[in-house]
Symmetry: D2
Subunit: 378 residues, 4 copies
């Protein structure tokens, strides 16, 4: 609060308002741990969300080279728990928060390394933009991680990682750490330093996939699946096929794509069809070469990673070229437009593929979600 | 109501109760369209459900040969609408009802035949125990039907069928016709006599499968999917794999099966994880050769069809041998045990595979469901 | 049925189409407990609900005098359980069912009489059109019953009644007996012949009202309230006030009434705001003198009792004058218009007050509800 | 953090481990807007919530005298919008936040004053510990405010206040301003400077109360009531009666109270039985003279105001005597015990009455709620 603000309302009478009385009043407020609304309302109650966070892009090569350097310098073990390096939004005062609610980090494991077991109420996922060789062991179930795979991991599940390959591996972690930090709702418990030999198996498919990875088929003897998805891996082959199918439907004149040239899927909990995690929405988008998305803004923030292809992004007042692995942040209510490069030389799908995660489920659960799309009312 | 019943309560005093007064009373009831509870309560309010329906089995060869005979004698067209022949439970007075709530029929189409388009609020599905060649066109989307496929079709969707092959094809239909008949909630509307040439295409996969057939992945531009599943085909390869996976998990010592030697999946709506149809639950069960299910009884009725293998069934006081294609009915609260044959010579999976549908979602929606499993409290 | 396919009509045995083949086919169907769809479809799948039940009115004086006669002739006790006399819809073949899903009965207790304790899964309520003096004891909680009171009683709650007054008392019971009878989901258990002396207390307010009878206030230490309302009495003073308030709002030009001159409240479960019983919707309507309701039809059936005032009803093809206590039935999808008498000489509220119950929650739970109001799309 | 991995501590620049490589690494992190997890994990992921907020008490006399001083010095009008003075938790760096998620303020209107109309997505309520004379006009509906009344006001409803009396009036406001500020989801829109003459009426009961203020009775013509309660006033007479009833039930040996000597009600939305506001839970507690509550801790924070009586509070490491009007804050997971004074000379109810609001609905909606009660597992 700025103590110098004496004129407290717009229609305040003229004259020397900073009277002795007013000074006594403000002194009283300070002494009694009070703050008047009228000096704060512009910041607290703006006409629409005006994010402290800034649109920002992090380049994959920089992330990767620093992670690799850390891999050679910083051991992984109990206490630090993970070799994870978080995106710190330049608008958020050095806090390791990609957005006010979302954590995004690159994680890195050297060959043969173990990240020790723990559990926490924060919801998490991993997404792999490149490489393979790490298995994550969730409640004793070893889950392979490979390029394009999305691996959710609901709060309070035990988990450890180990690199079973001969090369380092990087991936990104997304969590609701900032949200649970600010709302002060987080629990954490350390587990074993290393999982058992049996749990270090490296099966092609996890048990969760064998139980839940069949479209529309639920195991009858299903354990109570809780609020997060019981399916621990969404494989790239499936995701890629779903996106191809949407664009093929578009080619044939049928609905299915989000908008012209833009296919997208949401990762959902097969037990209830809802978001894969209670606080984090995760999606994969594919924008055909040369196409652009409609400008859109939305309550809540998003983090994107370019999975394949290249293009340009306009987020708020920022504009960037983007390429494979780059990560960028779109703050609450910032207008966003994405353009896929006209030439897609380096993309497997011939398009711009973008992984996205956001905090939308929080706002939807509390009836506070709003979306505005240019050219549409919604 | 039995007019001869004069003693209206169990502790009624002795003596000539059928007095003039009582006669006048009962005459008054009849004249005024009234019936006393006390003469009816035993039937209306039994200690537990005592079904009018009987356990009963229908043999596939008999169904098939009569359907084939009908195929040669009875044309298909507007008015009769479908060449469908319904199981009429022997306890239900000749009504075409497999159980008090469920309709089950064999449907049959000759080569080149069309079943005309219509829609109705009754929920329906098709299941194919043998053969292929028919496409069902649901809201303009052609869906292939082949052995092992399950094809739900929610109420009020337009649909027509046509046989694009050179041989007849049979399958079974399940609907909630008796339920909607008794509760008087049904609407029906005829459509075109034949669908368009474009809709007579015979694609390998329907548009619904391309949009919704990827495990855990929901199309972002999904149309509002309503109360029934937007996925119009659940293919046998997926169902078979899911059952194999459960038994493999069991082999490896992990949970997943319903009970020892018994795997099962429920067909669910991928948009919400609930039953594939609001009023009908559909499942596929696999019982290992030589294994038996625990005795179980449940509020509501079920219809089973043997998809593969053979075995014996004890339902209420009835016992049958069962083989591929046979259909049987288990009335409400009747104890059921299923035994898979010790030798599984003729079964592809080496087990007894049973397709099942029931009215359980109705009771669950109204908080009236109860299940009792021998050796378990539930 | 289309005249072009005459061969399939079951009741057309004579004539050239009754070939030997067709005879064999139909004989085969009969032998194998099968019925073809094509002979039944007109009845099973009509364009819209065509109820077997008929609109019908029962006169209160007739109900009351027969109940009183029964009170003098028929004892109440274990076995018969209740001196309840059910409305038997003339269209339903003498079954004691007011509609295909709903039971409606007049119940009668002589001074000092006890109706023994029992419980059943059928959901029930009582409504009092006149008199007082009976207490119903629900799970040990004595609940007074007086003119205008509505008393729900969810399935599987223990209950007994006793008349603590010196005069007989009548009231109406509503249950889902026909629905649970047809769907075969009912359980019943007898309890004590008489409740304890403590439970025979006659408090002004039940414990349930003390816990749950305060608007918008839920007891923090609330027991799990289940699917039915934990509030066991909705008193006339509250209902009357709510209706008066709606019409006063209308007088002042504010919204609140259902339509001009027509106020109505729904009895709801205060724990979740839903219908007071999972299968039965209960409402009180007030139509100003001289006003009429818009013609309306709805999936599902209703039973009405005139609580006060008089008027006329048009239901389907039937027209009746109605007066206090009269009960009438409106079958599924039958158009209904209610007119309140221009003079309201005998009505306390100066209007026509109608208690109504229906099976709407069943259809809403299963996404099968439809309503059509003249002059409105809904 | 484990002493065996000292290299990763950011604040350990001195010593042999502060190698050139590590320096380059940390410099790289800073340059690239990155922060490693391992230096932050202790703060971000504690074993259980460790709130930045502190338990704190604000004395009513101090609040009131400063509000009165402001009443004489600070005009109310457009821009500042409200003469509201917020509790600023001493642990939250001078921000006007009672807890990380909740705003609590005293608001004050002089005789004849108007607070101008506006609307915002933040959910709000008012609670009156003393006085009367102000009407709040919510979407054009004038609502009286008097001692003991609770007045919710869901997000995006237009509202203005005016003091129709000849004395100043104070009350408290509760909002989710900090939560929506941090999650950046807030919208605001100014309305008219003064509401119309008709809206300045001072009726005894609001229209909302006439529609929704009858226990268990929902208006059939109810407008879509949204996520917040359509009932705009919960009157003290009802709340007091509900609490009396619970303690009378306890006196008679029946369940109803939360724990011995402790009655409580939750303000709920009568349309769905859920919390009165989507993000804020509001309750009134009554602790009998001489009784204490069981120690309890809970995810999420609470603000209390003493409505009547006196006692002592132990919150975390803090202990206070409390009296009428005092407000105090209990941070997330802080243990809380409340003791009601043995003598209740100044209390109307003869007990300690406490109004409470908390952010529990947020955590419940996201499956992150936990409660621990001494002597109980929950």
């Amino acid at each position: 609060m700025d103590a110098a603000i004496p004129a407290v309302v717009s229609d305040a009478p003229d004259g020397p308002e900073a009277t002795t009385g007013l000074r006594a009043l403000y002194d009283g407020f300070e002494r009694e741990s009070l703050v008047p609304l009228w000096t704060q309302i512009g910041d607290l109650m703006p006409p629409h969300p005006q994010s402290k966070a800034k649109p920002h892009v992090w380049r994959w090569q920089n992330l990767l080279s620093l992670a690799d350097l850390a891999g050679h310098l910083v051991p992984v073990g109990r206490g630090g728990e993970r070799r994870a390096i978080a995106l710190a939004n330049p608008g958020l005062h050095g806090q390791p928060f990609a957005t006010p609610t979302l954590w995004a980090a690159i994680q890195y494991l050297m060959p043969g390394e173990d990240a020790p077991e723990h559990r926490h109420t924060q919801h998490a996922f991993r997404f792999v933009v490149a490489g393979e060789g790490v298995w994550t062991v969730v409640n004793g179930d070893p889950v392979a991680m490979r390029r394009g795979d999305f691996l959710p991991q609901g709060g309070w599940a035990w988990h450890a990682h180990h690199n079973a390959a001969t090369t380092p591996m990087a991936w990104i972690d997304g969590l609701d750490i900032p949200y649970s930090y600010y709302t002060e709702s987080q629990f954490f418990e350390p587990g074993r330093d290393r999982v058992s030999a049996a749990e270090r198996a490296t099966p092609e498919r996890s048990r969760s996939e064998r139980l839940w990875g069949h479209p529309g088929l639920a195991p009858l003897g299903r354990p109570d699946s809780g609020a997060a998805s019981p399916l621990l891996a969404y494989r790239w082959a499936d995701t890629d096929q779903a996106l191809r199918d949407q664009l093929l439907l578009e080619d044939q004149g049928y609905p299915g794509a989000v908008e012209p040239g833009h296919a997208a899927v949401r990762y959902t909990n097969p037990a209830d069809g809802r978001d894969v995690l209670p606080t984090i929405r995760c999606e994969m988008h594919r924008v055909r070469s040369g196409m652009a998305t409609a400008q859109r803004r939305e309550v809540g923030s998003s983090v994107y990673q370019v999975f394949d292809g290249s293009g340009t992004v306009a987020a708020g007042d920022s504009n960037w070229d983007i390429a494979r692995g780059d990560m960028f942040v779109v703050p609450s209510w910032s207008p966003l437009t994405i353009v896929s490069s006209a030439t897609a030389a380096n993309s497997e799908s011939g398009a711009l593929d973008l992984f996205r995660f956001s905090d939308a489920p929080i706002f939807e659960a509390l009836h506070a979600h709003r979306v505005q799309v240019a050219g549409r009312d919604r």
